[in-house]
């Protein structure tokens, strides 16, 4: 193996990688708001009735306790939408906070499948959990 002082590029890559891992583990995770907002746009129902496939909301929503643990749905459509067991009237929003890490299934008429899953993760309050949380987040974005 070549020592770092003989391969500056390898040395730089190693330092950068270690730095990134250290940042991912120790930097606090912050968001401007604990709300994860989603909007059901105007015309969603009409488009679906016209036979168009419309997917506005992801079928799985990921939240994290203590950081981003509030689901905020806004119904901007012209018709009521069902989320879980409840009706959201046109123009109405529904703000649902979560306090327990789990996977929640909801009926949701804004989805073609009629289902929405909200996955609530534990608060990443240790270096290892922050590292895992950030890694999972990258994979979710890429996927």
């Amino acid at each position: 193996m070549r020592p770092f002082h003989k391969s500056p590029i390898l040395g730089l890559v190693t330092v950068a990688t270690l730095g990134a891992v250290a940042w991912a583990a120790f930097a606090p995770i912050t968001f401007a708001s604990r709300e994860e907002p989603f909007e059901i746009p105007k015309g969603t129902w009409a488009q679906r009735m016209a036979g168009n496939k419309v997917e506005i909301l992801p079928s799985r929503v990921f939240l994290t306790l203590g950081i981003r643990d509030v689901l905020l749905l806004k119904n901007l459509d012209d018709v009521p939408q069902i989320f879980g067991p409840t009706l959201m009237m046109p123009g109405q929003s529904f703000r649902l906070p979560f306090e327990v890490a789990s996977s929640y299934q909801f009926a949701c008429t804004a989805h073609a499948s009629g289902q929405m899953t909200v996955v609530v993760d534990e608060q990443p309050d240790t270096a290892w959990r922050r590292l895992v949380w950030r890694t999972k987040r990258i994979f979710r974005v890429v996927a």
Binding site: T86, L87, M88, M89, Q92, R95, L96, P97
Partner: protein, 180 residues
């Protein structure tokens, strides 16, 4: 003008339950109460109404929910008199007014049940977005139903809904906020 709006927004964000904004008028209903009288939601203006849907043969969700509501009602102390718990049956076929009364009294004698014809109760469920599906056949069937509890303000607005699994303290917290 701005200050009360900001205060209201903060209040909304402090609730443990899911919150509707703006709140809509809670759909009124007129069914038969477990005490034999007529039961109309509008009759309870001035009180916070805690509205649930379930049935007396329910093996798990309903007893657990009602036990939590009963504990919350006790913890509210004197404020409890300004709160009315109403439990509407999703199984009117088996839940007579008398049966509901007996069942609910085991949790809290102030709780009111509501029953009616299958069509009446289905109409109420539709207006709230509540689902109920009969599972099985014969006399020993079950009913899969929505387990959320609705919180209705003193002026009859459907403000919030509490998902199943919350503790009595969460109800006390939110009901106290709605009362104030």
């Amino acid at each position: 003008m701005l200050m009360p709006m900001m205060a209201e927004a903060n209040d909304i964000e402090a609730l443990k339950a899911g919150v509707f904004n703006p709140p809509r008028e809670a759909p009124d209903f007129s069914v038969r109460a477990s005490d034999g009288a007529a039961l109309a939601l509008s009759h309870y203006r001035g009180k916070v109404v805690v509205l649930g849907f379930g049935y007396t043969h329910c093996p798990n969700v309903c007893p657990a929910t009602l036990a939590v509501l009963a504990l919350a009602h006790r913890k509210l102390g004197a404020l409890g008199s300004q709160v009315q718990v109403i439990y509407l049956t999703v199984d009117p076929e088996r839940d007579s007014a008398e049966r509901l009364k007996q069942y609910l009294a085991a949790f809290d004698p102030t709780f009111l049940g509501g029953t009616g014809t299958a069509a009446q109760m289905a109409a109420v469920r539709t207006s709230y977005g509540v689902t109920a599906e009969k599972i099985g056949t014969g006399s020993d069937y079950a009913v899969a139903h929505s387990s959320f509890i609705y919180l209705i303000t003193r002026d009859g607005k459907l403000r919030a809904l509490m998902p199943f699994g919350h503790k009595a303290e969460d109800y006390v917290h939110d009901i106290s906020m709605l009362l104030n």
